[in-house]
Amino acid sequence: MPQISVAPGPSRNARHTATVGEPASTASRPSRFARALRAAARQAERVLPRADLDARDPDFIRDRLPSLWLLASLWFRGEVRGLGNIPDAGPILLVGNHSGGNMTPDTIVFTLAFSTYFGVERPFYQLAHNLGVSMPALAQLRRFGTVAATPANARDALDRGAALLVYPGDDHERHRPTSQRNRVDLGQSKGFIRLALDHDVPLVPVVSIGGHETALFLTRGERLARWLALDRLFGLNALPISVALPWGVNVGDLLGHIPLPAKITIEALPPIDLRADFGPDPDPDYVYDHVVRLMQATLDALAGERRLPLIG
């Protein structure tokens, strides 16, 4: 299930977008070509179907569980721990670290695990980049409960009492170099903390390992993305370069790739009640540091269990 995920609320994308609207000097004014591209992108956004919470289809998910189970069990040898930590009912915010480029094998394994453990009847949504959920070829994602990463969708999902999975690290983390595979990097995106506070929902960190061994990730290509204005046009902060099947050198990963059969291990940590743990008005910076520290410690422990890359 290829997926492009971004964090809810103010994100790097939002920052970049904000700078576009600011008064600019003549020297830094966008060229006619860039303005035309941006207008085309806006037009495309209007034409493309936007993800809708109602598009989630439990029967469809149930029908696809065997395929996901085959993929997760035989290819990724998935192992998901700590599902018992997740509250049985009510809205929750699941916060994960993200790996594996656009193929996001950790999301595949976790979606299967969540859906089989709690049943497809429990509403479960995942925030993803609107570009990803709008692609006709990826229309099935919407039926899995993948919705565009907008603050409105995040709010609606929690208001409906759903479990919501977010990846604050977005493409910045998903496309990090392989040398940083065992590092949690949420890119200072703190929108998820405000979201949890606004809705007074528990926050459950979900830590995964193995996804970043499914290809050799060389660089995020952030400068390249900026140079090509992909951040302003499509909200893409990275144009990653990797070595992956079947392409060899893979620039952008827009067509995805065949992930290597690395063992994926995921652990859901005990829920964090932000107001109970950090007081009535928690400092987002402090909470962010705490969550990242917690996730990094878990990732270090999971990494310590692995004997060999891919094999696990």
Binding site: V109, L112, A113, T116, G119
Partner: protein, 159 residues
């Protein structure tokens, strides 16, 4: 897909029934089951509901099940209400020499999932059958040890 396993246990049928019908003891002998919680006011009997989870491959497959047949001490059957489609049955029959023949059946599947469902059911079958065999072995040990303890207690004088 349907899998089953059989075993003979050197204990009376009532003693085995006491183990399989008590939701508090299920986790002690059911292999692969990571959760078996009472989900309703009714603890046992017809209509009792439990929230269960069984580990199969990469997934812990769970759901709400309901007891649909309860004939003590012979038959206990359940069916899924939510989650993976499943039907299960305990069959207890008296065997010669104060023994009990125990059969555990489990039928499972995902209706409408096509070829992948057919394939997944078959690939999962050895793992599920292994869980059933180990469950019966553990049930046998549990029931027979309880019998041994009872007999030992009877032999002790003045108690």
């Amino acid at each position: 897909m349907r899998v089953s396993a059989n075993i003979h246990i050197a204990a009376p049928r009532e003693a085995v029934w006491a183990n399989i019908s008590d939701p508090g003891r299920v986790l002690s002998f059911m292999s692969g089951v990571t959760r078996w919680e009472i989900a309703d006011e009714r603890r046992t009997g017809l209509g009792a509901r439990y929230r269960t989870v069984l580990r199969i491959g990469a997934a812990e497959v769970g759901g709400l099940i309901e007891v649909v047949e309860w004939v003590a001490p012979a038959e206990l059957a359940w069916t899924s209400v939510t989650g993976l489609d499943q039907r299960g049955r305990w069959r207890l029959r008296e065997a010669p020499g104060e023994r009990t023949q125990v059969e555990l059946r489990l039928a499972y599947g995902v209706a409408g999932s096509g070829l992948s469902g057919w394939l997944a059911e078959r690939i999962a079958a050895p793992s599920v059958a292994g869980h059933l065999r180990r469950s019966l072995e553990q049930l046998r040990r549990m029931s027979e040890h309880a019998q041994l303890r009872e007999r030992a207690a009877e032999r002790r004088p003045g108690r």
